[in-house]
């Protein structure tokens, strides 16, 4: 009977309380609606911290599990099965934190139908947290698809000029991938007789050729979400059209659902196919890194620039995951968090200037540092974090990923060539190229446009929005030990499992 009071149930579904309260508000009560959403998301964040307090970092297995029969079907029943482990705990915390931050960031940006906006936003949080906690494939799929709906409306109602197009494209694109995943899930459920991850991993024994196709089916859904090159076409549309808070969540959390999916499902369920396909995935990742960086450089719309930079950054994450050694995978997970923080913050920053000038063309700015010194300084920190300056979070992630990828290039390791790491390292230079260009175009040089002279610097609310992210940026950069400590046992276990399975596979 502790179903309702179980911490994982609470952290997943608590936002619904806020939704219920919001339903009682009238449309004119905008400020109240914002406060309700903010308080709800803060409490949810508090609950996630409580989950963290109960989490035992030394334990590599699933923890705090709640496993109840949900849809009993003969032979393969579907469970309400939530649990957390080292792979997901950080992402849950990131989700709850970013939700609160983005609610705060959207305080004055959304004036139209605030109540409905906040309702969709909290619903989105339910879906996202559920995705990271679900340990039953079917339940996972339900949460996975559920996130589409609020996001669709967030883009489609509060978006920019081509919002309908972007929303439909986002929906159809991700839906198309998920269909394949659904088929694979059903196949697994019927063939293996269970939807629960521990049972599926324990059972194993999928024929090699089928495992290959199952891997691809899951990968289709996840690769679109990440998005891996060349499936990234929906991303710039969705990002450019989405409202600021939507972009923050889209980049900060929704994309991580893809990489997390690879980590949680592909690596654990299909280890042989993983080893077999690792060079291909890493190759796509490296192409994504370079391609994303090059394309970012040529953008004129700053939001689009940040959007394409996500393609590049997520390429690093994928490269780390498919290095299949502790350094790469841990770096990959940390980089997911890093990208959530720094790109999330970048989108918030873009949103702030958009709110003031209603344009995102970089040529419309210049010299803003002089007009808005606090804004300039905060942006500088975030930009430097995004381009991986040592001492800030991005570096720790990128360094460990590349270290892992280089190690995976040793003879006999997953990738078989150090070229992956070598080429990806070039991405570090290209990142500096486009980030510094953005910073220069927005902040440096003389103030050329008259309307930029009168812009107001950040108010206290906007500073408060950014400060938690910046504190974390420094924290992870200078002392990432606690973060690595949380994930290390789980990652070691996963890597050992993949390597053991691949060793078995190699024996005829």
């Amino acid at each position: 009977m502790n179903f309702l009071l179980h911490p994982l149930t609470l952290v997943t579904f608590f936002p619904l309380v806020g939704v219920v309260v919001l339903l009682f508000l009238r449309d004119e009560q905008k400020t109240l609606a914002r406060w309700v959403a903010l308080v709800t998301s803060l409490i949810t964040f508090g609950i996630s911290l409580a989950v963290l307090a109960q989490f035992n970092p030394a334990n590599p297995d699933l923890q705090l599990a709640i496993d109840l029969p949900w849809i009993p079907l003969a032979g393969w029943e579907i469970h309400y099965f939530l649990a957390v482990d080292g792979l997901s705990i950080l992402l849950v915390l990131l989700t709850t934190l970013l939700t609160a931050v983005s609610v705060l960031s959207t305080w004055t940006a959304v004036e139209d139908r605030v109540k409905q906006f906040m309702i969709f936003f909290l619903l989105l949080e339910v879906g996202m947290v559920g995705v990271f906690l679900a340990q039953d494939l079917f339940l996972f799929y339900v949460f996975w698809e559920f996130t589409l709906v609020p996001m669709y409306f967030l883009i489609g109602i509060w978006g920019g000029g081509r919002r309908t197009y972007a929303a439909v494209k986002f929906f159809l694109y991700t839906m198309a991938g998920s269909i394949l995943m659904l088929l694979a899930i059903l196949w697994l459920g019927i063939y293996q007789g269970s939807f629960q991850m521990p049972a599926l991993i324990a059972k194993g024994g999928i024929p090699a050729n089928i495992e290959f196709w199952l891997f691809l089916a899951f990968a289709a859904a996840f690769a679109i979400k990440v998005p891996m090159w060349p499936l990234h076409s929906w991303l710039p549309d969705a990002h450019v059209e989405a409202p600021t808070a939507g972009s923050v969540i889209l980049a900060g959390v929704l994309l991580k659902m893809g990489t997390y999916g690879f980590l949680r499902f592909n690596l654990s369920l299909f280890p042989q196919a993983t080893v077999q396909l690792a060079p291909w995935m890493a190759g796509l990742a490296v192409i994504g890194i370079l391609y994303g960086a090059a394309v970012s450089y040529a953008q004129k719309d700053v939001k689009k620039l940040v959007a394409y930079s996500s393609v590049s950054h997520l390429g690093f994450v994928m490269l780390g995951l498919f290095a299949l050694n502790p350094q790469g995978v841990q770096g990959g997970i940390l980089q997911m968090v890093n990208h959530g923080l720094s790109t999330g913050a970048l989108f918030i920053i873009v949103g702030m200037i958009y709110e003031r000038r209603h344009t995102r063309e970089m040529d419309a700015f210049g010299g803003l540092w002089k007009v808005m010194p606090i804004y300039g300084a905060l942006t500088l920190i975030v930009a430097l974090s995004s381009m991986g300056l040592p001492g800030l979070n991005g570096f720790v992630g990128e360094f460990t990923i590349l270290l892992g990828a280089w190690g995976a290039g040793q003879p006999g390791a997953a990738l078989g060539s150090t070229w992956f790491a070598g080429l990806a390292a070039v991405g570090v230079i290209l990142a500096a190229v486009y980030i510094l260009l953005m910073f220069q175009k927005l902040f440096l040089g003389p103030v050329t446009k008259e309307e930029n002279r009168v812009l107001l610097d950040l108010n206290w609310r906007e500073v408060v929005t950014l400060v938690p992210l910046i504190v974390l940026i420094f924290w992870i950069g200078l002392y990432p030990k606690p973060f690595f400590m949380l994930m290390a046992p789980a990652v070691d276990k996963l890597v050992a499992a993949v390597q053991a399975a691949s060793a078995v596979a190699l024996i005829p």
């Binding site: 494209k169 060349p230 076409s233 710039p236 549309d237 391609y291 090059a294 394309v295 450089y297 040529a298 953008q299 394409y308 050694n325 502790p326 350094q327 841990q330 770096g331 210049g366 010299g367 540092w369 002089k370 010194p373 430097l384 300056l389 040592p390 001492g391 570096f395 720790v396 360094f399 460990t400 590349l402 270290l403 280089w406 190690g407 040793q410 150090t418 790491a421 070598g422 390292a425 070039v426 570090v428 230079i429 500096a432 190229v433 510094l436 260009l437 220069q440 902040f443 440096l444 040089g445 003389p446 103030v447 050329t448 200078l478 002392y479 990432p480 030990k481 690595f484 290390a488 070691d492």
Partner: protein, 713 residues
């Protein structure tokens, strides 16, 4: 050492080493938090902010001296761990400090020069912020300067390559921020910012080399700690020498980036866009020598791989000559010094490449003193000229008399100077000391260190000796040219005519640096070799016994004197004034052009290397990224493939289905169904009376019927 015994009993201060980082951190946090407020509220605000930063920097000097004292007793040094940083699986890197003779030398140099430049900046920036019209940035300057000290100290005190890399990129960041300090000035208003970006990106290319070296090192040695790596190096080299070659060459890439060697030196001259104290501290004395420090630190790796040593020597000596020739063709007082820096860094890199690590470090120290001195004096000169210009602007009588200076008057152009000897006496004398030291005349510091390098080159690589010796001749020549053009003759502009000496807060650091320049050679005089014995504790087997070759020393002195004479011949006041008096149309920009016109053109335009890089790398990359973004990603992949091919195709398909099949067959059925539904609904609607009691009655009827059915079934 006669006080060896007493010192060895003295308390050890090794535990204090983290404070070389913490003191400037405290300083910068103080200035971030309160700097703006102090500047606004207090009339002496600038002094407070500046002195807080200077004291923070000065305290690092105190700590460095304490470490030095401790090392006298315990020359083996110590590793002081602070905190665990990254630990994944077998990989671990910590925040921990290495105190040994090599790192403490660097700390001393950085803290002495750094502190003097901080103090100098109190005066310099006071005028600079007013000249550039934004006094609010005064505090920001000192924050960045302290941040630089932090990064540089992390760099030199690290006990592992990863922490070193943090400092390595950190100083790059400070360089970026300080080059672009006046980010709204420069060419087209954005020139300074672009220069900063260029520096950051160019050095980052080198940094990626460093990163790759780190990866290779970790997977070869299983660690990034200096001591572990150096202990294992011989064994790894025996097993797979190619790994060591790979690592050392990757590191060389890093060195060319940070220490401005061919081919990545191009950023350093542009970096002169920063305020002059920045050029002195970062782009002459300390940051750019990080590459030299890196090679010296990795001495144990380099001595295992002669091919790498050869490459380093080649790069260093080629750069030394290459940059020295460019310096001859420059008119900007700071550009001359910048190329001179590149050239001198070439000397150092060549030295550490040859294995003469002590000679390289020796030159690093003396160069830090005299080049810092030269840059700061140049700053003093520039501000003196600016003061003159300012004086004219605000004196109506003078303004009427003299020609207007115009908006594009360049206070850094040496052609606008002349005759400053009598107007800025202190500056002149310290500048002269620096110039002589740089030219390599005994007994100043530059002579001893340069001579040691040349002596080593003479012994090891004779071709390197030739290159470096020619570079030394050019060095003496362009310094003579510069001193004559700036300080001698008659003023060539109204601003120079009214130039004024700088305040004591600027000239006193200059005098201290001049003193160090005079005495700096003492630390490694022939016969004593103090620095060499000192370094032996750290570099151990990698050290060379340097010897003083009289012939080499004499030869280089003679060559330098000849170069000075040649310089005097071309630029002596009488001759140069005669040249200057010719009509502007008929006269070329420099007397040297009459003799070697095409060569001078080449030097003036820096061999068109920048243009070459634009054409070969930057423009293609920009074109590629535009092509990828606009054509491949947007028009093909986004618009054509997705919108046209996928969505469009789907739309056409559905259109076909709708037109042919749907309208004919399915619609007929659907419409029929609709009509039927309407009729049924009309009948059923009459049941809806709207009376609650009627509904209740029907419910009750249902209850009765169901109960009856259940009973009778």
């Amino acid at each position: 050492m006669f006080f060896q015994e007493t010192v060895s009993q003295a308390p050890q201060f090794f535990g204090l080493v983290p404070w070389i980082v913490f003191f400037p951190v405290i300083g910068l946090l103080f200035n971030i938090a309160f700097g703006g407020m102090i500047l606004k509220r207090s009339p002496a605000g600038e002094k407070i902010v500046g002195w807080v930063a200077s004291i923070a920097s000065g305290l690092t000097f105190v700590v460095s001296v304490l470490l030095l004292v401790s090392l006298l007793g315990h020359p083996e040094g110590m590793v002081v761990p602070l905190a665990e940083w990254i630990k994944i699986g077998s990989f671990s890197a910590n925040w921990s400090f290495q105190v040994d003779t090599l790192s403490v030398v660097m700390m001393l140099v950085v803290s002495i020069v750094g502190t003097l430049i901080h103090i100098y900046s109190i005066g310099y920036m006071h005028e600079d912020v007013r000249h550039n019209g934004d006094p609010g940035r005064y505090g920001r300057f000192f924050v960045f300067m302290n941040l630089f000290i932090v990064s540089m100290m992390i760099l030199v005190s690290a006990d592992n390559y990863l922490m070193l890399f943090v400092g390595w990129e950190g100083v790059g960041l400070c360089s970026y921020l300080l080059i672009g300090f006046w980010y709204d000035k420069g060419e087209d208003g954005i020139g300074n910012a672009v220069a900063g970006k260029k520096a950051m990106i160019t050095t980052r290319i080198g940094d990626v080399g460093m990163l790759l070296a780190l990866f290779a090192m970790f997977w070869a040695f299983g660690s990034l700690d200096f001591n572990t790596i150096f202990a294992k190096a011989p064994q790894v080299a025996a097993a797979s020498p190619v790994i060591i070659l790979l690592i050392t060459l990757f590191m060389l890439v890093a060195v060319t980036g940070k220490s401005a060697q061919i081919p990545l030196y191009v950023w350093l001259p542009d970096a002169m866009a920063g305020p002059t104290p920045v050029s002195a501290l970062i782009h002459a004395a300390t940051m750019v020598t990080a590459g030299v420090y890196l090679v010296a630190r990795s001495a144990d790796l380099y001595i295992l791989e002669p091919q790498a040593q050869f490459m380093v020597t080649l790069v260093g000596s080629a750069t030394a000559l290459f940059a020295a020739t460019i310096a001859v063709g420059q008119f900007d007082i700071k550009k001359v010094l910048a190329y001179s820096t590149v050239s001198q860094l070439g000397f150092m890199v060549a030295a550490v490449g040859m294995g003469a690590f002590v000679a390289g470090m020796f030159h690093l120290v003396t160069h830090a003193f005299f080049k810092g001195l030269l840059f700061l004096s140049a700053g003093s000169v520039i501000q003196g000229v600016e003061r003159g210009a300012h004086h004219i602007e605000h004196d109506p009588k003078l303004k009427k008399q003299s020609k207007s200076l115009g908006p594009d008057f360049d206070p850094q152009d040496m052609r606008n100077m002349g005759g400053l000897r009598s107007r800025m006496k202190v500056t002149f004398w310290v500048y002269l000391i620096g110039a002589i030291s740089l030219s390599g005349l005994p007994p100043l510091a530059g002579f001893w260190s340069k001579d040691e390098i040349l002596a080593e080159a003479n012994k090891l690589y004779i071709w390197a000796y030739v290159l470096l010796a020619i570079a030394a001749i050019f060095t003496a020549f362009y310094m003579t040219r510069q001193v004559l053009m700036v300080f001698f003759g008659k003023p060539r502009s109204a601003a120079a005519e009214h130039a004024q000496e700088s305040p004591p807060v600027m000239t006193i650091p200059l005098m201290i640096l001049a003193g160090l320049t005079v005495l700096g050679g003492l630390i490694n005089l022939p016969e004593f070799h103090t620095l060499e014995h000192w370094m032996e504790h750290t570099l151990g087997q990698a050290i060379h016994k340097a010897e003083f070759v009289m012939l080499v020393a004499a030869l280089s002195t003679v060559l330098a004197l000849l170069a000075i004479v040649a310089g005097w011949w071309f630029y002596n006041p009488r001759r140069y004034e005669a040249f200057w008096a010719e009509p502007a149309a008929k006269r070329p920009d420099d007397p040297l052009r009459r003799l070697i016109g095409p060569l001078f053109e080449l030097w003036k335009n820096k061999y068109w290397i920048d243009e070459l890089y634009w054409a070969a790398i930057l423009n293609p990359y920009i074109a590629l990224s535009r092509f990828l973004a606009d054509v491949v990603d947007w028009r093909f992949w986004h618009d054509w493939f997705h919108d046209q091919a996928l969505f469009g195709g789907f739309n056409r398909l559905t259109g076909l289905l709708a037109g042919r099949i749907d309208l004919g067959i399915i619609d007929g059925i659907a419409n029929g169904l609709g009509t039927l539904a309407q009729r049924v609904a009309a009948v059923l609607r009459s049941v809806q009376t709207g009376f609650v009691r009627n509904y209740a009655l029907s419910i009750f009827l249902g209850v009765v019927i169901i109960l009856g059915y259940l009973l009778l079934r």
